[in-house]
Amino acid sequence: MPSRSWPDIVVSGIGVTSAIGQGKVAFTAALLEGRHRFDVMRRPGRQRPLPVNGEGTPEEPAAAFLGAEIASVSMPGSVSRSLLRTASFSAQVALATLYEAWHDAKLDAIDPERIGLIVGGSNFQQRELVQVHDAYRHREAFLRPTYGMSFMDSDLCGLCTQAFGIRGFAYTVGGASASGQVVVLQAIQAVQSGQVDACIAIGALMDISYWECQGFRSLGAMGSDRYAKDPASACRPFDRDRDGFIFGESCGVVVIQRADSVSMTEIRPYALLAGWAMGMDGNRNPDPSLEGEVGAITAALQRAGLSAKDIDYVNPHGTGSTMGDITELEAIRRCGLDHAHLNATKSVIGHGLSAAGAVELIAILLQMQEGWLHPSRNLEQPIEPGLNWVRDQAVPHRIENALNLSMGFGGVNTAVCLRKC
């Protein structure tokens, strides 16, 4: 292994909330069983309103979009009810998820001025905003004053730092669907540079409204109504019959620390963050780039001092998009990763958009801990059958070195290598 000039960086705590469960125990159990919650989305503000005729009678049923929604969120008692009153759904889920990660990493033991927080994602409270706009249209004078601060994504920074007493820095970063991984990279740099001793990276829950659903669908990114009568079959990354991503609500929180700052008697780190990379395609559009993906993988492996043969598991971006899935598998092949085990976390939990990169990194850590790889749902006819897929049943496997990939609209490519420690 080549010597490195930077300190070892580890994940010291995690928190996760998704449609398949809140907390790492429930999440792991559901993930390994391939238990899903895909259905017609029912959260208010996610159905296109009924078109009406001249007499005000609905002309056709409301447009329904498929996805996986969180049934309920258990809030920690330590977060005051008055703080929760004006917290958006994204913010509430972030607070609950951060609570788990905070205690997992035992952050109470760290000087609050040496703790930083970064929120990954942008424009992630859209459904909440649409609901406010609809409620106060034509009576704007009565808009609640709190809207003036809560509409900003950075409100999450204020809420989380107040609720947990964080006194380092806090800000948001965006990288479209790669935001969850971009925020982890940013947190690594904050810890590596010595800016803080512990940095919390939140992959925020992207709370989309029917406007974003319609936009994604029109763009051809979100799955069509092909599986409207069979929601369980709609989310099928890497399968021949896929036709777009299926949304899934989720939030992931990762605590990053230098290995030498973690008290090993108190905490057993989940994994070493061995290498990482981010590169842009120089392309504003949603189309993927083979060169961009290969570049990110190659750079992350190089930074980790690993070769492709060292990687025994890949957690791909795998959204179920027509071109994205093909390009990603080609990149995996071109990088010499054909041998590595491969599954699709989004097939179980859906696409969390801004949260995806963080939640999928957590999925790797939990599989590493369990010694099992979760199944890939609906992978009936893989577009690349020769790869080492985990199909419809979990398989035992002890991950030593894993690779996690994320991509985002606008030409974002990120890759992270994790090593068991």
């Binding site: 005051s80 009810r81 008055s82 009576r139 009565f142 609640r144």
Partner: protein, 84 residues
């Protein structure tokens, strides 16, 4: 505003109802007319929300700045009543 003017006492009740909603910790508090929202723990944003929710309930569009001088909920109800 409706044709029948709402009484100051009714406005006070509306203020108390919204205060309990905005500051849930005051659910069991026995409100008195000389209670100050600030002293009860409502911060400036909470107070602005409470006043706006009260005005919304009364369908009364008056600038929030007009309420700035109120020292307690009774004075607040009085100002709103005078402008209704």
């Amino acid at each position: 505003m409706s044709e029948t003017k709402v009484s100051k006492e009714e406005i006070l009740e509306i203020i108390v109802r919204h205060t309990r909603e905005v500051v849930p910790e005051l659910e069991a508090h026995e409100f008195r007319p000389d209670d100050s929202l600030k002293a009860l723990g409502a911060n400036s944003v909470d107070r602005a929300d409470i006043i706006m929710m009260t005005l919304e309930s009364l369908v009364l569009n008056i600038p929030l700045v007009a309420m700035a001088k109120a020292e307690n909920i009774s004075e607040l109800a009085e100002i709103i009543h005078a402008k209704s």
